[in-house]
């Protein structure tokens, strides 16, 4: 049995599913914001009513813990040390926090163009300590091409800080984007303690209930990671809730399906896309609050409209406010909402019909119209806004920059998709959105707990990304920041691929996965020419295990 628990904003959803994909039990528990651990254990206990703890093979959780902590500024005080060198003059605005700047420079081939100023480095380390920082994040431009400056900075910092309170950008993320790498390193260090405490709580609670099965945490890219390593990169768990929903939809449909995902909530609607069984990833990385990061995440976009959105009147015209004033009028709330309009039009059975009619009457009087016309207008405003956002996602994907002739000749095009509703709120809107988008639609069984299902059935994601600069006789591994000697002379793509696969197989083994579960997702080779002759090559290869589910859910066979 696999347990999945999603600690969401309003509810904590849980599900028990067999490895074969049969849902055995579901549970819903209100989320207690002040104590997420309590919400999680409450849900777990409900699930365990019908199960013996030793039947459990894995517990997977997704949580808003980190998202909330970042948005509410509940992170440790951490210093950010930046070495930018020539190029764009770094400004404070590029980073989520005010950084300490330090002199030194590395170029795009990893060559030192200006040595690190060690006196300044020692001074900054002391400054961080004196400012009361609990940890320090370090990011130097092109650190993934040459990590020596970050390592030297680490040495200076170790005099004042314990090893686990120092984060070096090259060890965490290999992607080219220095401000995002800096922000991500900062968030990693600043959230480590909070996350570790939470995970320890989870581990204790689970073990106390007699479950000895492994515990995994869901990441923003839909992969799972064991509790032990999750604490190393806690920032990867932001947006694990939406990722869980996407995976849930994946599990509730046949493999290779092309799907649009729509989750209409009280105040926001989340949208996503699955193309031929592959959830769409955001091109540069997740953004959270004022932080742009390199964290791999599904491309999920949120629209500020939902069932509880207040409907206002401006100059005799109906409009959707960006706020929630309370529950829907038909549920005893203060203002008319889309939920009232749906109830009035018979598109939902949620709430009190009389009050829904009153709500529409209120709007009708104020706009000199009739209740039916007003209700239809409210619904069309919501549908319009959602469709607009959907078109935005599709357009963003289709317009992703292309850097090769081949890519321009084979452009991204979104095929016909099936609109899939999850979450269970305002489902009456889904056929209307589908009609407007000219697509089919579905609301699968268990769509209300798609998030927990997604967590339960998620699989690990991991990769091996190798970049070799054979002229410089070296290669680096992006996932760990290791710099190693290139063993093959001028080198070929095949040799680089073999090294990447070697590394991939090792990681796969650590995850207990088949060594061949990856695919080459990126490969590029450039000749390095000097004075009209080829000196070497720059080769980049990525082998990746993409997000997926252990099994697809078999409908209609439940153990309940």
């Amino acid at each position: 049995m696999l347990i999945g628990i999603d600690v969401g904003g309003t509810f904590t959803d849980g599900v028990v599913v067999s490895k074969a994909g049969q849902v055995q039990a579901v549970a819903k528990y209100p989320t207690n914001h002040a104590n997420l651990l309590e919400s999680l254990t409450g849900c777990l206990d409900k699930l365990l009513c019908s199960f013996n703890p030793d039947q459990v093979e894995r517990v997977a959780i997704s949580t808003t813990l980190l998202t909330n902590a970042v948005l509410e500024d509940r992170l440790d005080q951490v210093g950010l040390v930046i070495e930018a060198g020539p190029g764009l003059c770094p400004s404070d605005q590029m980073f989520g926090v005010k950084p300490y700047f330090i002199a030194g420079a590395i170029d795009f081939r990893g060559r030192e163009i200006q040595p690190l100023d060690l006196t300044e480095a020692r001074h900054v380390a002391r400054q961080c300590r004196e400012a009361g920082c609990e940890g320090v994040a370090v990011a130097t431009k092109f650190a993934q091409r040459n990590n020596s400056h970050e390592l030297a900075l680490e040495k200076c910092l170790q005099k004042h800080f314990p090893a686990e309170a120092i984060g070096l950008s090259h060890r965490l993320y290999g992607k080219l984007n220095f401000p995002r790498r800096a922000n991500t390193t900062y968030l990693t260090v600043a959230s480590r303690r909070l996350f570790q405490t939470f995970l320890q709580g989870v581990e204790k609670a689970v073990r106390d209930r007699g479950i000895t099965a492994p515990i995994v945490v869901l990441k923003a890219d839909g992969g799972t990671t064991p509790v032990a390593t999750a604490a190393f990169r806690p920032v990867e768990t932001i947006y694990s809730g939406p990722a869980a929903s996407v995976l849930g939809v994946l599990a509730l449909n046949p493999p290779q399906a092309t799907l649009g995902i729509i989750d209409i909530g009280g105040t926001t609607t989340d949208l996503g896309l699955i193309l031929d069984g592959n959830p769409l990833l955001s091109a540069k990385g997740a953004e959270i609050g004022r932080f742009k990061t390199v964290v791999r995440s599904f491309s999920v976009s949120s629209v500020a409209v939902g069932g509880d959105t207040a409907v206002g009147i401006n100059a005799g015209q109906l409009f959707l406010s960006s706020k929630r004033e309370g529950p829907a009028y038909c549920l005893g709330g203060p203002t008319p909402t889309p939920t009232d309009a749906l109830r009035f039009l018979g598109l939902s059975e949620f709430g009190d019909g009389e009050r829904a009619a009153q709500a529409m009457q209120l709007l009708a009087q104020a706009t000199g119209s009739v209740a039916k016309a007003v209700a239809e207008k409210v619904v069309s405003l919501v549908v319009e806004r959602i469709c607009h956002a959907f078109a935005g996602i599709v357009k963003a994907w289709e317009n992703e920059p292309a850097y090769r002739v081949w890519e321009v000749l084979h452009p991204h095009r979104v095929k016909r998709f099936t609109l899939t509703g999850v979450g269970g709120a305002a489902t009456g809107l889904i056929p209307l959105v589908a009609k407007q988008l000219n697509t089919d639609w579905q609301i699968p069984e268990y769509s209300k707990v798609a998030n927990a299902l997604g967590a339960a059935l998620a699989q690990p994601t991991f990769s091996a990304t190798l970049r070799a600069d054979t002229t410089q006789k070296q290669y680096t591994l992006a996932e760990t920041g290791q710099q190693l000697g290139w063993p093959y002379g001028r080198g070929t793509l095949e040799q680089a691929k073999e090294l990447a696969w070697q590394r991939f197989r090792q990681v796969a083994e650590e995850f207990g996965m088949s060594p061949e579960c990856g695919e080459v997702t990126r490969e590029e080779v450039f000749n390095v020419v000097n004075g009209w002759s080829t000196e070497g090559k720059i080769i980049e290869v990525a082998v990746e295990r993409k997000a997926g589910v252990l099994n697809h859910v078999k409908e209609g066979e439940t153990g309940e």
Binding site: G85, P86, G87, L88, C89, M94, A105, D107, F108, R109, I113, Q114, K141, F142, L176, N177, F178, P179, R180, K284, K292, N399, E400, P401, A402, Y403, R404, V405, W406, V408, L409, E524, F526, N527, V528, V529, W532, S533, T534, I538
Partner: protein
């Protein structure tokens, strides 16, 4: 906010040869630098992706010979299409300026295209100019070509066009490919002083470039009053370029960009792919977006620049030159030999321009090309310029009708920019083999 549009098309899978300067790797380090800076995350920039230029976009600017299906391949169409993508974004008001960093480059491609010359097959900037005129009715456009090589392709395409001001600043043609672009080449009789060539001595630095810009280029633009200013931005004036001998820094390019304040810039050449391109391209982008570019390049140590006093007489000579009165003739005739260095082809051309007082003047161009000089003039181009007058059109139509019967040319190309209609008439097959109707 004023957004700067960026179109980056490095064509990582296209080259003119493994060790050729125009190879896959050329914009690799530019990519690394731009990506590592996180430039596209800044609110000042918006990135676009290219589409293929249409056949008609090419036909409007070039006569592709011996026929329309020769020479032009997907990479060329993407580079030109990328430039058009930014032009559309500019005209739609999505961006207030933009920089298209595309490969392959274009400014050595001339009106007639028999192959590749100076690494160029079709002329991206010229295609954009004519697209803007046709699609948006823009009347006057200035092109400032800051590649180190004379942009003889753009020079050729607009030499007889009174509505396009072409200004080229380049290393003196007596010391560098293509060996043209002298101050006395001032435009054809129908477009006199609509071409301004400013050759600089090898070793000219930032100071000289900015001096020339302020003393000659900006006044010429102010005088012309164009609706748009475009920059053919070659990065090979940089002091580290392996093919040329100038001493410009990345900061100098930034200053140039800021002062020129072009609406759109298009990458041309530049072959110091590690030492210049990442920093010069970044400098241009920052300058366009109004961001500080003072520290864009590591340790620019430039020595041995030509002193400004050596530049001043050149500038004075251009400033002081007299208005020339050109005697009116019914037809003006020009002879031109064009060498295609990449493909080793010699083209010979005889151009007749009608000395028309009503329009820019009909052009009848006899042309041929081969492995040696003196190729037979076996093709005819009938070019009706934008705003062609009825008389010129009448002559053009008669000529085309006559040649369709006489069959004395292998290919007759009807290039009607005014009606946006383009036809290739094959003299052997005796039929129109390609038609781009309005």
């Amino acid at each position: 906010m004023n957004k700067t549009g960026v179109l980056f098309f490095p064509a990582f899978d296209w080259s003119l040869g493994e060790t050729h300067p125009e190879r896959e790797e050329r914009l690799l380090y530019t990519r690394d630098q731009l990506f590592e800076e996180g430039l596209m995350d800044l609110p000042q920039f918006v990135e676009y992706t290219p589409v293929l230029a249409g056949k008609k976009d090419i036909a409007r600017t070039h006569a592709v010979l011996p026929g329309p299906d020769e020479h032009v391949t997907a990479p060329h169409l993407i580079a030109a299409g990328g430039v058009l993508t930014l032009a559309k974004a500019l005209m739609a008001g999505e961006i207030s300026r933009g920089f298209a960093m595309v490969r392959p480059p274009g400014h050595h491609a001339m009106h007639t295209v028999y192959g590749n010359r100076g690494f160029c097959t079709i002329n991206n900037v010229a295609i954009m100019v004519n697209f803007l005129r046709r699609t948006y009715g823009i009347k006057k456009i200035a092109i400032v070509d800051t590649d180190v090589h004379h942009g003889d392709g753009s020079h050729d395409i607009f030499y007889h066009d009174p509505d396009v001001l072409y200004i080229s600043i380049h290393q003196d043609g007596r010391t560098l490919y293509p060996g043209s672009g002298f101050p006395d080449e001032r435009g054809g009789p129908q477009a006199f002083d609509r071409t301004l060539n400013i050759p600089l001595p090898p070793g000219s630095g930032d100071e000289a470039l900015l001096y020339v810009l302020e003393e000659l280029v900006l006044p010429a633009i102010a005088d012309f009053q164009p609706d748009l200013v475009l920059n053919s931005a070659g990065q090979d004036n940089h002091f580290t370029d392996p093919l040329a001998n100038m001493r410009i820094t990345a900061k100098g390019y930034g200053d140039l960009t800021r002062l020129l304040n072009a609406d759109l810039a298009v990458l041309e050449g530049g072959y110091a792919i590690e030492t210049a391109l990442p920093y010069v391209n970044l400098g241009i982008l920052l300058a366009m977006a109004g961001i500080d570019y003072a520290n864009v390049e590591p340790n620019p140590c430039v020595t041995d620049t030509v002193p400004l006093r050596a530049i001043k007489p050149l500038v004075e000579a251009i400033k002081q030159r007299k208005k020339v009165s050109i005697p009116k003739q019914d037809w003006y005739v020009f002879h031109k030999d064009v060498f295609y260095d990449t493909d080793y082809i010699w083209e010979q051309r005889v151009e007749k321009i009608r000395g028309c007082r009503q329009c820019a003047g009909l052009q009848l161009i006899e042309t041929g090309a081969g492995a040696n000089r003196g190729a037979k003039l076996e093709n005819l181009v009938i070019k009706l310029p934008f705003g062609v007058c009825p008389k010129c059109r009448e002559i053009a139509e008669k000529t085309f009708a006559l040649q369709k019967k006489a069959l004395s040319y292998r290919m007759v190309y009807w290039q009607d920019q005014a009606a946006d209609v383009y036809r290739y008439f094959d003299g052997k097959l005796r039929e129109v083999v390609d038609e781009q109707p309005d």
